[in-house]
């Protein structure tokens, strides 16, 4: 069956696994699942540059590799620069006739830390220079690889090892950085959010992003049982609740035009999402109410952007 395309409902999904089994991801890892789905959507004509982080560490202990695709890793914060070099290199070698002409998609993979913190300069540069690449940010809302330290993508109220909840702290006191808005501010042709709990939506977006000429960005919520402290069998459910509560809405920004991928007439209370996870266990009802209010306001803002785009 390997490599054959079979039908799942109205979507076509390959049974080819570009990520070989035997990797070291934790059981129930949302990043692993999201990555597997993304790779199915990408096919084989790709070259991947991967930042340091869980994905890299779990897939490449020398002398083994889980990668059935051409793949490189060098450092934590340079992935967007590296893929710029890959893309420019391929283009010029093809132009000069040194390698055969073909369509090879350049893919960058990084975590939320490698994207929204230490790698943001390189990413901004690569967007601005208009390289033809797709950047996939796997957001598990902290530096998981190094032991659950806070990042700028960690949500308000979450307890992490460097912003722990304590007598005088609720943990993270800042709001999650809006990476998609930052990507969109570069006027890139395509940006989107996705989550492994919505596999077809994720795969369609990855396929679409890979087909775009120019820079494309997909921000993928990747639930992490280890860092978020929930039982590993709940990964899909936690991801669904993130979307259903409006905490992590799924949308696309096509040439600056916002469109919700899943528009729910009524959002579930954020408490349903928060209460499943140990990282939010310390939050008082009052704090949860605060988070509810902020979530509603952010969701309304997004809806306004969608409405303005439709108008």
């Amino acid at each position: 069956m390997e490599g054959k395309t079979i039908k799942f409902g109205k979507n076509l999904v390959t049974t080819r696994e570009s990520l070989a089994p035997g990797h070291n991801f934790c059981a129930g890892c949302g990043e692993a699942l999201a990555l597997r789905l993304a790779l199915k959507a990408l096919g084989e004509n790709v070259i991947i540059a991967n930042a340091t982080g869980c994905i890299e560490i779990c897939t490449s202990p020398l002398p083994y590799t889980s990668w059935r695709l051409p793949w490189m890793h060098t450092l934590f914060e340079n992935t967007a620069a590296e893929i710029s070099g890959v893309e420019a290199g391929l283009n010029i070698l093809m132009k000069k006739g040194k390698i055969p002409q073909r369509d090879i998609k350049c893919i960058a993979i990084a975590g939320d830390g490698g994207t929204s913190d230490i790698g943001i300069q390189a990413l901004s540069g690569a967007f601005e220079r208009r390289h033809n690449f797709l950047y996939l940010c796997f957001d598990n809302e902290a530096y998981m690889n190094t032991g659950i330290q806070r990042s700028s993508a960690t949500p308000y109220g979450a307890s992490t090892t460097t912003a722990p909840a304590g007598k005088f702290s609720i943990g993270q006191i800042t709001e999650k950085k809006n990476m998609v808005a930052i990507a969109v501010a570069h006027d890139i042709p395509y940006a989107a959010t996705a989550c492994h709990s919505y596999p077809f939506d994720l795969m369609n977006k990855v396929k679409k992003g890979a087909g775009i000429k120019g820079p494309a960005y997909i921000h993928i919520l990747s639930c992490c049982p280890t860092g978020w402290r929930y039982p590993s069998n709940l990964t899909i459910e936690v991801g669904r609740l993130a979307v259903e509560t409006g905490i992590f809405p799924l949308y696309e920004v096509d040439d600056g035009q916002y469109k919700l991928s899943i528009a729910r007439p009524k959002l579930k209370p954020v408490e349903e999402y928060l209460k499943l996870q140990g990282r939010f266990r310390h939050l008082s009802d009052e704090e949860i109410k605060k988070i509810q209010g902020k979530t509603d306001r952010k969701y309304a803002k997004l809806r306004a952007k969608v409405a303005a785009s439709a108008a």
Binding site: H73, T74, L75, A81, G85, G89
Partner: protein
């Protein structure tokens, strides 16, 4: 026919990269390196060079983009200086460990603080352990020649290491001198096309840069070290072939009037040319003094160096850098290279030429006379400075 033209050293470097037909340049401007990327950008804009010029947003990204380009098999070039080299520091290590034969010109510059755009060797010394083949240039012709040679050696399948070509900021990078430019056909004879066996390619998936657990990291590093030391063979072969085709000959340790010399002065980079004037005067007066210069800095040319300094009584090492609390880095290395040798010269360390401070002929006169006095006193006071206002510091070292 080759032609002789007046060319700034930075332009000579760019010209060598052009004649090497580089595929990708990613660079970020910093004084005194700016003329190199500017000239390359101009060549690309005018169609003189068919290459991708990536105007990256930092030196960290410059070297990172070079990694990506090299990984797919592109001939890759960059240039930087001082703070830029420091900013890309972690990526510099990766280039050699991943065995990507990137060529980088470094227009040597002092390191902040205080901020200084002027020349010394602090930047070069900070990257001496990064696993790059490293050479120093003394003049414009060498800047051209060694840049060309760097591609030939680095890309050799038996080498596959990146090469750093050091040229002093301003005192070399911005100097205009006559340079002999070869015919393209000669360059093509010297420099084969870059055929990278491990290029990333969807038809043959490969993993570059897996991480090294403790069970394998040591083996990976030692394998790299063995290959790096072996590269010396190709380095010499490359210079041999260069000599055969272009008629200019390069050696790991360059010598100037060293026959029978009892005192040897060791310099690196462009100050060597000033030192030659002083050596000439003294030699002509009958003094047994000569000049040597480390052309090849890494891999360190142990055999050649030991052989050349064997007969000398005093070796004066001029360092344009301070390793704080230690002395001059070149001094430390050459003294350690001589430790087990019998007989061996007394080694005296003079530090000068920091942050663009000129080292004049007079300074060299002082350096030589003073060093001989110090050598006579024994090993108590082996470190001094030259050209620094205020009290000379004599430090035990």
């Amino acid at each position: 026919m080759s032609k002789r033209v007046a060319l700034e050293a930075s332009f000579a470097v760019a010209e060598a990269a052009r004649m090497a037909d580089v595929d990708v340049t990613a660079a970020y401007p910093i004084t005194p390196q700016t003329h190199i990327p500017e000239r390359l950008a101009e060549m690309v804009a005018d169609g003189e060079l068919d290459a991708a010029y990536i105007p990256v947003e930092s030196e960290h990204s410059a070297m990172s983009a070079c990694l990506g380009a090299a990984a797919v098999g592109a001939r890759t070039f960059t240039a930087t200086a001082g703070q830029g080299l420091e900013l890309m520091h972690e990526v510099v290590y990766v280039a050699s460990s991943m065995r990507y034969p990137i060529v980088m010109a470094v227009c040597n510059r002092a390191l902040s603080a205080p901020l200084s755009v002027w020349g010394d060797h602090s930047d070069a010394m900070a990257v001496r352990d990064t696993g790059w083949i490293q050479v120093f240039c003394q003049n414009n012709q060498e800047a051209f020649d060694l840049t060309l040679w760097a591609f030939r050696v680095g890309e050799d399948p038996k080498v596959l290491f990146p090469v750093m070509v050091h040229l002093d900021g301003f005192t070399l990078s911005h100097v205009t001198e006559p340079v002999i430019l070869p015919e393209q056909s000669e360059v093509d004879r010297f420099l084969p096309k870059f055929q990278y066996l491990f290029a990333l390619n969807p038809d043959k998936p490969m993993t570059h840069g897996a991480f090294g657990p403790p069970e394998i990291y040591s083996e990976a590093k030692i394998a790299q070290e063995v290959a790096f030391r072996k590269s010396k063979e190709i380095i010499l072969q490359g210079w041999n072939e260069f000599g055969n085709i272009f008629g200019r000959h390069y050696f790991p340790v360059e010598q100037y009037r060293t026959a029978g010399a009892k005192t040897l002065l060791l310099t690196m980079g462009s100050s060597t040319e000033t030192a030659k004037i002083v050596i000439d005067e003294r030699r002509d007066k009958g003094e047994a003094i000569g000049l040597i210069s480390l052309r090849l800095w890494r891999p360190f040319p142990f055999e050649e160096f030991r052989q050349i300094v064997k007969g000398a009584e005093t070796l004066i090492v001029l360092d344009r850098c301070i390793s704080s609390g230690m002395g001059g880095p070149v001094f430390s290395e050459v003294r350690s290279a001589l430790y087990n040798e019998v007989p061996k010269p007394k080694v005296v360390n003079i530090i000068g030429g920091l942050g663009g401070r000129d080292i004049s002929e007079n300074d060299f006169e002082y350096v030589i006379d003073r060093s001989r006095e110090i050598a006579k006193q024994g090993s108590e006071k082996m470190l001094e400075t030259v050209g620094v206002r205020g009290k000379m510091i004599g430090i035990r070292g």
